[in-house]
Amino acid sequence: MTNQHTLLIFLLGTFILLSFSLFVVLFILQYKKRQQLFKLETINLEHQFQSQLLNTKLEVQEQAYKYLSEEIHDNVGQELSLVKLHLYTLSLNSQHDSKEVIQNATEVLSKAINDLRTISHNLNGNSISKNGLPESLQKEVSYINSAKSLKAVLNVSGIVFSFPPDIELLIFRIIQESLNNTIKHAKANTVVVTLDYRVDHVYILIKDDGIGFDTNSPKLSKSLGLMNIATRAKLLNAKLTISSEINHGTSISLVLKSTAV
């Protein structure tokens, strides 16, 4: 082997080995980059799927509410009205004592009809899309006030803008759920609902002066009401904050960008 051959082998060998080393490094970098992209895509797809699943679940739930609402209003309501009419007719043709009983029954039935109408109204999401969020909330607040067990106040500030109907419905349900929790568990005297419309977002606050609760309690994670609120907030891409202190009330705030969802 001549010296020239040796030099050539040296150069060729070095070139091959260096190229091989670089190729291995670049191959691994490229492979891992693709693997990472694939992982990200999988996670994104999973998120999308979860979001769609939630959407579907909520849609089904809304349909069920709507159906229930229509059923109560069109059937049960009609039937109860009919009963009321019969009893009223009967009262005209009966003796004085039975008349009083019938009158009482009529009053109870009237109340039942009113209650059913209220339930129907609460369940039907169409009124929210028809009337808009602030007006629907004002009605909700009026219903609560009519019960006279809790004073509810609605404050709306800023220039009101509308979200798509399904978004407004979700926001309404979150507030409704929060108000239900206040009525059921808070033992509060007052609950204030604030809707603050800003340029690019809306700030919603539901604050009561009730008994509050321990936010670290393990029971809390199983609370269906709070879970519903959290799920809906997640679906809206809204920032949800729940803060509470025992004997110092509870406040639930929601920040939702105007471009959300």
Binding site: I9, L17, S21
Partner: protein, 210 residues
């Protein structure tokens, strides 16, 4: 000139590793120790050359440390158990090889060229094994920010690029065939790789370790 740059870069990478000593993990500390021994060996060789003494002893002794520390580094990177025990075992085997080589092939005061060729094969193999493990590991993410991966790649490039030098380079140098070019190639390769080490240790704060 290139020699001086090489020593300068080697010193800089060692100092960078010392500067980040508290923040680097054990595998990186091992490489930092290797940088120290490389620098010490380089300075010792220069002194021996200046005194016209043979370099073989320094190279043989350095080879032992090099094998010990590099093996420990690779074993640590792949998360082996009993790293100390395994490293010592492997180094003992290499020590026997070095002694046998000095008895039968390259006398102790001469450059242990056969050992260096074998070392190249051994370290290339270890580097490829580590990289194979990286490929298999689904949890390894963002290799650009993984300093251990960078160090393994630098080892692969260093030993891959040096293999032919140890195999034929010494022969070419001894026969004065493009000796300067061949020698310069090896020094430039070392400069680039040790500059890589310097970058890894300097950018340590930005490189997230795994």
């Amino acid at each position: 000139m290139l020699d001086k740059i090489y020593v300068l870069i080697l010193s800089a990478s060692f100092l960078a590793s010392v500067y980040n000593w508290r923040h680097i993990n054990i595998a990186e500390k091992v490489i930092a120790c290797l940088l120290f021994f490389s620098l010490a060996n380089e300075l010792l060789c220069r002194y021996l050359l200046y005194r016209n003494l043979p370099l073989g002893v320094a190279h043989n002794v350095f080879s032992v440390f090099e094998i010990l520390l590099t093996t420990a580094f690779f074993l640590l990177v792949v998360n082996y158990r009993n790293v100390l025990f395994k490293t010592i075992g492997i180094t003992i085997v290499w020590l026997i090889i070095i002694i046998l080589n000095s008895i039968f092939y390259n006398p102790f005061n001469y450059l242990n060229i056969n050992v260096l060729v074998l070392e190249s094969v051994y370290f290339i193999g270890l580097s490829l094994y580590v990289l194979y493990n990286v490929l298999l590991d689904d949890n390894v993410e963002d290799l650009f920010r993984n300093s251990l991966f960078s160090l393994v790649c630098l080892q692969l490039i260093l030993w891959g690029g040096s293999f032919m030098f140890w195999s034929l380079g010494i022969y070419l140098i001894n026969n004065n065939i493009n000796a300067t070019a061949v020698n310069n190639y090896h020094i430039i390769l070392n400069i680039l790789v040790y500059f890589g080490f310097f970058i890894v240790y300097t950018l340590f704060g930005k490189l997230k370790l795994t």
